[in-house]
Each structure stands twice: as C-alpha cells, then as structure tokens.
C-alpha cells in the first residue's frame, strides 16, 4: 500500500537497501556480516525446541518488502492517531515511526541540555558513532537464529535512549511504532542508562489497519548501569495478520532496578525471546506480561531470567487469556549461575482459557547451579467459570459484561503493578475491546 518499492528480503533487495542509505562504513560492514550469517542459516523448523509449538510454514518473508526510504503517503496525523498510551501524558520526548521510517522525533530542550539522547537510532549512528558502536547488538545475540540475523542486517529507523550518569527524567518518554497495511517494521530499540540514571519509557506498536498483513522483525536492547532505574512499558497491537519476531533483552547491573511490563494483544503470529540478565549484585527485575489472543492468533514467548551475580532478585508474572481458536505459548527459565548465591527468583504464568478451542501451553523451568538460592515457580490454567458468569448475570450483567469483568479481574494483579494511569487505562480498554460474546 505505502511501500512502492518491490525490493524484498533477497540478495538484490538487500543490495539496494544498502545502496539507498548513506551509512558509515562500520554499520554497512555490520549489516553485511549479519546478512551473510542469515544467508547461511536455515529457517527454524519444528524439531528445534523453541519452534516445537510454533509453526511458521505459513510465513513467506518474500511477501514483505525490505524497509525503504521512499516517503510514504500516510499523513502524520494518521500515525499519531494510532497511539494509545500518550493520552493525557506530559512526555519528555516522542518518537514516531511508520514502517520503520522516522516520522517525528522530539525531546524537550531541558533534557537535551543535560546530555540525554532520544531519537532516531539511524541518525545517531552518524552523530554518536562511538556510543552506538559500543552498544548496538552488544546485548542480543544476532546469531540466535535466522530472524535475529535478518533483523541485524536490515534494521531501519529505530530509536535510541541514552541517559547520562545521574540524570533523572521525571516525565515519560514515548515511542510509537506504526505499521501500515502490508508494511514492514524492523526497528531496533537501544536503551542505555548510565549509573544512577532514571527513566520511564512507553513503547507501543500499532497499525493503521487491524486486519492488514505486516511484518515486524525487531530487537530491543536495554543496558542498565549500576543504580539506574528504568520503567519500560511495551504494548503490542499489530494487525491480526502481522508476523512478529523479536529478540528483546535487558542487562541490569549492580543495585539497578528494571520494571518491564508488556502487553501482547496483536499479530497473527508472535515469537519473542525476552531475557533479563542480572549482572551485578543487588540487581532487581520485575517483568509483567499481559497476553490476550483471539481468532487464530498465536503468541509465543520464551523468557529467561538469568542470575549471573549474587543477591539479585527477579520477579516474573505473565497472565494470558485465550479466546476462539487462539493459542499462547510460554516457556520460561530461571537460570542461576554458580556465583549467583542468595538469588531470589520467582516465576509465574496464569492462563484463562475462554473457549474450548483455545489453548495455553505453559512451561516453567529452573536451572540452578548455586546452592544458596530461593527460586519458586508456578503455572495455572483455568477456564472461565459458568457459575461466575451466572452469578454476575443474576446481578444484572449481560453475558458479555460478565465475561469482560471476569477477564479484567483476571488481569487485575498486573494492573495493580502499573503505576502509570494512561497505561492502565489503555490496557484495560484494549482488553475490554477484545472480549467477545460467548454462548
């Protein structure tokens, strides 16, 4: 629709992708190397553990265009209207992208003066080459699989947040990535908090046409230096024919805290690896996830809480509800290295299956090599209880109102952990919108 180029993810397409961009040599080389890796790799197959429950035979990458820099005919207002988390929020800065192209990026002058960087990752590869070179793909593994390698080769647009030592940003920053019908988004997000820095980042992915196809090949890297504090919110509402593949990882150093809340509502098929490495003593992470699927959606998350240093805490709670013929997969792991004594790890996944054809796979895991640790995990799967619905109906709720209330009640535990009103409201609305009528 908006991408006029015919270039796709093949050798010729990649060649013109490189040609089109005026990029520093180091970046070109990095891309080329990743491309070569990708070329040498097979597509994952079901016999690979991570893909055992996720069937990608339907996925044809050459149906999607490689991101181009041809200007789109979509009005900027249309992009702005797609966002959900910004309502009523005074932000310190904003980045908007459409099909991996930056539409708008801004940061308040006060934060610029204090050395904060927030804007297009592409642009910063020129202006902040040393910084970007040091951190880009330093956290995620570009050789993890073919998707990861392709992302490293073809990421475009993207965003960087860099908060210098001791700078505390007291207003949220906002990133809104939008896909047009049939578009491709390969944005990469790079977040660096220096020692003692603090920030709140609201990051959402939306689409102009909920029923259109699309592709996201993405990556998120978060680097937290000692004593830094980050609240990071991800809302994913891609269109329901969009393929969504991403590697997302944070590394959290001494006494730093990370609260990472994600909501995965969109896409046709999602396969995400979300990891948190606790690399310095006293690091603390809290990961919250809300998943709500319908129709034939398939959302798979492979998560890792990796304790590499002593005295760290990791808290993890995913709650998923499934309707229709949809399916979610969660495979979690708490890994505790031998030196990570006094680890406190927690992992839990609750599922609410709303229809007899829906399915939830929930597989917790522990791999503990230290001897003085406390790690607990749990997983529950329940159906919506007809007796609950009847009880609510006897109090005047329609069936749909009753279901919606029970589903929101199910997610309440996560909402209680969200301290930003606009996020709680947007999530509540998104969930309520998706609840359908059952009989």
């Amino acid at each position: 629709m908006t991408t006029t180029t015919l270039s796709t993810f093949d050798a010729a397409g990649f060649e013109s992708f490189l040609q089109e961009r005026q990029e520093p040599q180091w970046l070109k080389e990095m891309r080329q190397q990743a491309w070569n890796q990708a070329e040498a790799m097979q597509w994952p197959e079901r016999r690979h553990e991570e893909w055992l429950r996720t069937d990608i035979r339907m996925f044809q990458i050459n149906r999607f265009g490689i991101p181009s820099s041809v200007a789109s005919d979509v009005e900027p207002e249309q992009v702005a209207e797609a966002h959900q988390l910004r309502a009523g929020v005074e932000t310190a800065g904003q980045i908007e992208t459409l099909d991996s192209q930056i539409v708008n990026a801004s940061l308040k002058e006060t934060w610029k003066e204090r050395g904060v960087l927030f804007g297009s990752l592409e642009d910063h590869c020129e202006s902040q080459a040393d910084l970007v070179r040091e951190y880009l793909f330093s956290v995620t593994n570009t050789e993890h699989d073919k998707f990861a390698a392709l992302h490293a080769a073809t990421w475009a647009g993207g965003q960087i947040l860099y908060v210098p030592r001791g700078v505390v940003i007291d207003e949220p920053l906002h990133i809104g990535s939008v896909l047009s019908g049939g578009g491709t988004d390969t944005t990469h997000t790079l977040v660096i908090l220096e020692e003692g820095a603090e920030a709140t980042l609201l990051h959402e992915c939306n689409c102009l046409d909920p029923s259109a196809s699309g592709l996201h090949l993405g990556g998120i890297e978060i680097i937290q230096k000692p004593n830094s504090h980050l609240r990071y919110v991800n809302l994913q509402e891609w269109g329901h024919k969009t393929f969504n593949f991403a590697m997302q990882k944070a590394t959290v150093d001494r006494d730093a805290t990370l609260q990472w809340t994600l909501a995965a509502m969109g896409s046709q098929l999602t396969k995400v690896n979300q990891s948190v490495d606790l690399v310095g003593p006293g690091a603390n992470s809290q990961v919250n996830g809300v998943m709500f699927t319908e129709a034939r959606q398939h959302i798979a998350y492979h998560t890792l809480q990796h304790h590499k240093a002593p005295n760290c805490r990791s808290d993890f709670l995913y709650k998923s509800a499934q309707q229709d013929n949809s399916r979610t997969v969660w495979r979690g792991m708490i890994k505790v290295d031998p030196e990570a004594q006094k680890t406190d790890g927690y992992q839990r996944n609750d599922n609410l299956v709303l229809s007899s054809n829906a399915r939830a796979d929930s597989i917790p895991g522990l791999e503990i090599e230290a001897d003085d640790v406390r790690c607990t995990h749990g997983s529950t799967t329940a159906k919506v209880d007809e007796e609950q619905i009847f009880y609510a109906r006897c109090r005047g709720f329609t069936r749909k109102e009753a279901t919606r209330m029970i589903v929101s009640g199910f997610f309440q535990q996560i909402f209680d952990r969200i301290t930003i009103d606009s996020v709680r409201d947007a999530l509540g609305d998104a969930i309520a919108r998706q609840v359908r009528e059952y009989d």
């Binding site: 007809e386 007796e387 009847f390 109906r393 006897c394 109090r395 329609t398 209330m405 997610f411 309440q412």
Partner: protein, 271 residues
C-alpha cells in the same frame, strides 16, 4: 402497583434427573413466605430455576412476573425485571472489587434499558450511597475494596449478599439460607437488616433451616418442600412446628414425595 410472582406446575431436571416435580407458588409484593424442607428436597433448585440457571432445564410449567413470561428471559433480564437471589453459595470473582461490581450491577438494575458501554452511576454519588448502606449494615467500608467473595468467610459472604439486596432493591427476593454460617450475633444482625430492607417492602421467599430469621420476618405463609414439590402450605405456626418437631410428620404424611426425596439423595450419593 401490586406485583405478583407466579410459579405454576414447575418441572425442572438437571441432566436427566428430575428435581422439581410440579411446584406451585404465588407471591405478592409485600408478602413474606418461608420455604422449608429437608436437605436435598429442591429448595435451592427452585431459586436457581427462577433466576434462569442454564444447568437447570425447565421441562414443564410457567413462571410469570406480573404479565411477563419469566422463562423467556435471560438471567440478567430477570434481575433487571426485579428478581433477586441471595445465593446459598455465592461465587468469588477474583480481581473485581466489590464496589465496582456493585456499581455496575446497581446501574444495570436501576436502568434496565441501559446499553453496554453507557455511563454508570456517577462515582461520587454511588460511593456515598454505598457507604451509607454499609454503615447501616455495620459493615466496614474496607469491605467494598475487597474482591467479590474472594477469600470471604462464610459469614462475610452472606453479609455481602445482604448488602447487594440493600443496594439493588428488587421487587422479589429469594434468600437461600442467608442465615446459615453466621454466628449468633450475626444472625440477629442479618435478620434485623433483612426485615428493615425487605419485610413488607418486597416479596420475600425465605429459605431457612433456623427460626431467628423468621422471628424478625414473620411469614404470612410457610411452604414445605419434599421430593421436589410443595407438599404443605400453612401460616407461621407451620414453621414453628417444623422447627420444634422436624420433618417426621411431613415424611409420613406424604410417602410418595418422601420416596422421591430419598431417590434424589441416593442418586446424589452414587453420582
């Protein structure tokens, strides 16, 4: 207006198992009826069938609220029409605060034509009303912030049902053992509250095994259920008799109903 809830020759089965076998009962607005009967005789089934529980199939008979055919209505329509059931076993709804639940319920009941998504009663107005009612029932305001029946003690659940009765002000209320599981003081408080909220102001059908509740809400009629039928109807003295002497006389007088009751209990045991 004088409202009437009329049940005629009601037959109900669960699965293939007949439970109610021809129940007749007419309640006028403002009247109080006691419904008694041994365990498993079908009292709760009657309450749930009146509300439209999907697991209870109506195989014969009628229920009318004034000229409305209740059997044609969904459970929520029945509630909005003014029929209320205080559950013998209320359901927990984790994550949903009592206050939010009640605000939505109260709005729907007071504005029966409300469409989904339309405004609820304004928060401040509702909070004030809820607070007043709770104070009246001597309930701690903290209660409204707890999740619906989640982790409630048996007594707390029953009191929460009474609070809902007070907020929803139905035309007809069926109170299914709203006095059980309460300690002596709580029974007295509950009985007084119910009398204040409902006695002579609603049509009440009080299902009970004890006498305290009826002392405060003297029934004009006492019905005895056995084997899925109302086998005898009398005045308040019948309730007194049953409290004193139990059901021996009833069981002997109505051997067929007694046989049906035993049959249901036996099936229950083998199920």
């Amino acid at each position: 207006m004088n409202h009437i809830l009329k049940i005629e020759d009601l037959h109900v089965t669960v699965g293939d198992k007949p439970i109610l076998r021809g129940v007749n009962l007419t309640i006028q607005h403002g009247e109080t009826h006691a419904l008694m009967g041994p365990n498993g005789s079908g009292k709760s089934t009657l309450g749930l069938a009146i509300m439209g529980h999907p697991g209870y199939e109506i195989t014969g008979g009628k229920i009318h609220l004034n000229d409305q055919d209740v059997l044609e209505m969904e459970a929520d329509e029945r509630a909005r029409a003014g029929i209320f059931l205080a559950f013998q076993r209320p359901m927990a709804i984790p994550g949903v605060k009592m206050a939010d639940f009640l605000r939505h319920a109260t709005t729907n009941i007071r504005r029966p034509d409300r469409k989904e998504g339309e405004e609820l009663i304004p928060m401040r107005e509702f909070r004030k009303e809820l607070k007043d009612r709770m104070a009246h029932l001597r309930m701690d305001v903290e209660f409204a912030r707890r999740y619906v029946n989640d982790g409630f003690s048996g007594g707390e659940m029953k009191r929460a049902e009474i609070l809902q009765l007070a907020m929803l002000q139905p035309k007809f209320a069926i109170l299914d053992e709203t006095d059980s599981g309460l300690d002596a003081d709580a029974v007295r408080l509950a009985s007084e509250s119910i009398a204040e909220i409902g006695h002579q102001k609603m049509g009440l059908l009080i299902i009970t095994h004890h006498d305290k509740l009826l002392e405060h809400n003297p029934p004009q009629f006492t019905h005895v259920m056995l084997g899925g039928r109302i086998v005898e109807t009398g005045g308040p003295e019948l309730a007194d008799e049953l409290h004193e002497n139990g059901y021996d006389r009833i069981r002997k007088t109505y051997p067929e109903a007694e046989a049906a009751n035993q049959e249901m209990l036996a099936e229950e045991a083998t199920a």
